[in-house]
């Protein structure tokens, strides 16, 4: 099957393929806010999450050779009248899905299983390719969940879902702001695995509290799954033992950002797209760069070839950087409608477009 790049934007969903050069092959949902897409490698199904604003969040699915069809949207159960649910700030949490913020297939041995994380921070699972969704009550009922806080969004949310390649029943979640979570029994029980993270913006006695860490994005090394990387509000964190974290300090030009990608076979190699922390959020000095480490964070290359180095105010959101199975090809899209691609791990970048709508997410098939 021809490799494609799925680009979710504020005004539609674009499918790119390589025909000599990478170019847009299809534009779907034009005018609609497509916040995230997923390709299921088990069967070729595609999923697109739409946020219609007035009309709410919807999910659509496309089977190979078929047309897009609306399917069930994850939904909270009816909230009992006597329940008042609040987040860590004490704000009342509405039991309504405001955004699909993570969408991942289950393992290769779990045909039909999908995971979905939302804002507010709930996890849903489907056992039937998205025909229906079940609320993962075990996580919602965990006492620590009530301490989760909103970060950039009004309410906390689950943005990262990593299914362990060694055991599909082991799943990790990245939560903003709620740390990193792990289940080893496909969602029956949950444990927090965010020790070592640090949130400098909190009062000193709370900076190391694992329950309220603002992980911006979590990725897991496919080849060495105990190795994980997190782009955190506070900087970059690396995990070597599946549960504790080490902060990577002094990363040029900045360790603030949203996106992170890890090489499929080299766990020490990872990419980030930095910006000025944290209330400004644009590239340092207006120069768009990607940073790459090949030695587990001891040193970083600042990659600029092919990227705008003057008056670039592109922000790259957490789902807007991806790497393919080759480990050489990466792509990222920005809030100002730029889309760049490299075929050599970032040594050279090529602009695919600078006129797209604001990009929420990119995914290689």
């Amino acid at each position: 099957m021809t490799q494609e790049l799925l680009v979710s934007t504020r005004k539609g969903f674009f499918t790119l393929a390589r025909n000599g050069q990478w170019q847009i092959r299809n534009a779907d949902f034009l005018g609609d806010n497509v916040t995230l897409a997923m390709h299921d490698p088990r069967n070729g199904y595609r999923y697109a999450a739409l946020d219609h604003g007035h009309f709410g969040v919807k999910l659509h699915r496309k089977k190979p050779g078929g047309a897009w069809e609306e399917i069930a949207t994850p939904a909270y159960p009816p909230k009992p009248d006597d329940v008042v649910d609040t987040d860590g700030w004490g704000k009342v949490l509405p039991w309504t899905v405001m955004r699909v913020w993570a969408l991942e297939p289950g393992g290769p041995d779990q045909e039909g299983l999908l995971w979905c994380g939302t804002i507010p921070g709930a996890l849903f699972r489907s056992n039937d390719h998205g025909e229906s969704w079940q609320w993962v009550k075990s996580l919602w009922d965990h006492p620590s969940r009530k301490r989760w806080m909103g970060g950039g969004a009004d309410f906390p949310g689950i943005h990262s879902i990593c299914v362990d390649p060694r055991d599909s029943n082991t799943v990790r979640l990245g939560v903003s702001c709620g740390g990193v979570w792990r289940t080893r029994d496909c969602g029956e029980n949950w444990e927090l695995t965010a020790n070592g993270m640090r949130a400098e913006f909190l009062p000193p006695e709370q900076q190391g509290d694992p329950e309220i860490q603002d992980a911006h994005m979590l990725v897991q090394s496919p080849s060495s799954p105990d190795r994980m990387w997190v782009q955190h509000h506070n900087g970059i964190f690396r995990c070597d033992d599946a549960q504790t974290w080490t902060e990577i300090l002094d990363v040029p030009p900045s360790s603030f950002g949203f996106a992170v990608a890890v090489h499929p076979r080299e766990p020490d190699t990872a990419w980030f797209v930095p910006g000025i922390k944290d209330e400004k959020r644009y590239p340092v000095d207006g120069a768009l760069v990607v940073t790459r480490t090949r030695d587990a964070g001891r040193s970083f290359d600042v990659l600029t070839n092919g990227l705008p180095q003057q008056h670039a105010y592109d922000v790259v959101y957490r789902h807007a950087l991806d790497i393919d199975d080759s480990g050489d090809r990466l792509a990222f899209g920005s809030t100002t409608g730029g889309l760049w691609l490299t075929e050599d791990q970032g040594d050279h970048w090529r602009e695919i477009s600078h006129t797209l709508p604001p990009v929420h997410a990119v995914r290689f098939t």
């Binding site: 604003g53 007035h54 009309f55 709410g56 609306e70 009816p78 509405p94 309504t96």
Partner: protein
Amino acid sequence: MAEVHFTANLQRHVPCPQMQADGGTVREVLDSVFAENELLRGYVLDEQGALRKHMGIIVDGVVLRDRERLSDPAGPDSRIYVMQALSGG
């Protein structure tokens, strides 16, 4: 039966022609509509059954007051307009 109209912007996403439906409250009328058009429910109401935040309903010229339970009365001659608050870019 009450007459129910939907904003034209909704037609782009889900078919929702003008309909006639029975009910003593706006909730009952809309439930009758949704019984024949289940997909439409999620575009107008959230999963708790409340009117979506940026939607509005006008019943016989009066803006819906009970956005949670939709208990405002409706009658056989009512005209109900399901609208959106246009915003954004």
